[in-house]
């Protein structure tokens, strides 16, 4: 089944279709959110809230931009949640009020492994730190374009900006990023 079929069947409350759709997007979303927050606990909560909102709003979803519509839509929800997290920081809360689900919270070994990997991923740490100094819209574009490798067209759908604006913002964001990284040894070594 293609994405369109899975989405349409999920809209009609088909559990199997939604399960497949979830499997296709869970990894993408949690990795996107994790790269933006670098916090495994919040990455889990933001991903959970994203999928909860997907389910709550699925009946309203429309294929406005062809096949990529769903991809843009789900990233849009995730991006909004991430930005909400940045605004609220420690006050950001998981919307799922279910004790059984909350009790699943501790995934010791897996989390430890991810944290260790993060410590060794100096490129991600440096870039993430530098990107955080950019304007919020530039931050969104950098992550969506260079980490998630989405097209400008998809990004324009996610951010509600036209494609040309996204291209211009992307160029400006890269220039700013270059300035921020100028004094960074990692970047100098690259020159």
């Amino acid at each position: 089944m293609n994405i369109k079929e899975l989405v349409e069947k999920s809209k009609n409350k088909d559990k199997e279709a939604f399960s497949e759709l979830f499997d296709l997007y869970y990894d993408k979303i949690i990795n996107y959110v994790f790269k933006r927050t670098l916090n495994i606990d919040y990455a889990k909560d933001i991903t959970s809230n994203t999928f909860l909102k997907v389910l709550e709003n699925l009946h309203r979803f429309e294929w406005r931009n062809g096949e990529n519509s769903f991809n843009s839509w789900i990233y849009k929800i995730a991006t909004n949640e991430v930005n909400q997290y940045f605004r609220k920081q420690n006050k950001y809360k998981l919307s799922i009020d279910d004790e059984n689900f909350k009790e699943l919270g501790d995934f010791g070994e897996e989390v430890e492994k991810i944290e260790k990997r993060l410590e060794n991923d100096e490129y991600l740490l440096v870039l993430n730190k530098a990107i955080k100094q950019l304007k919020p819209i530039y931050q969104d574009i950098m992550h969506l374009r260079y980490f998630e490798e989405l097209t400008y067209s998809e990004i324009s759908g996610i951010l509600n900006k036209n494609e040309t604006t996204v291209r211009v913002y992307s160029k400006r964001a890269l220039e700013k990023l270059k300035d921020i990284l100028k004094e960074d040894a990692l970047f100098i070594n690259q020159n």
């Binding site: 949690i30 990455a43 909860l52 709550e56 699925l58 991810i114």
Partner: protein
Amino acid sequence: MNNIEELFRKVNKEKILIEGHKTGLKNYLLNSEYFNEREVFDYKPVFASVFFSLIIISASFLFFNNDNEKEIALDNNQRALGVQSEYFNESMKMMSATSDTPIEESITLYDKLISKDNTEAYDSVFDEKEVKVLEVFENSIKTKYYFNKDKNILLKTEIINNNK
């Protein structure tokens, strides 16, 4: 600029995976109300429309039924008398009022008739009782109304066609 893009490429592409969270979230979503809610038939609009329809039907029934009765009564009166007489209708009402039904209107038929220019009034005796008589002239037709002494009960009507 290319160097910065190069930096992005050097980021570890290996995906993070928290299998427990993935399974837990998926189960939670699949067991949520979204997939388990049954389509509940909403009776409210149906009841409302049925109730409204009943009101319309009863109102129409009452309206047409009432109208038919009036038409039939008027038609019969006209046939019987051969003239269109509003007084006759009124007198019919008054006749029915001779039973236990109280007279609803404060202005009686007697008052209405006597106020007309073409009416003459006098006292007489009918069925060995003192009565009030009103003679109403309409074209060549004279209608005599016999009322009781208190002028609130119509005892008899007489139609006299002078052409005959």
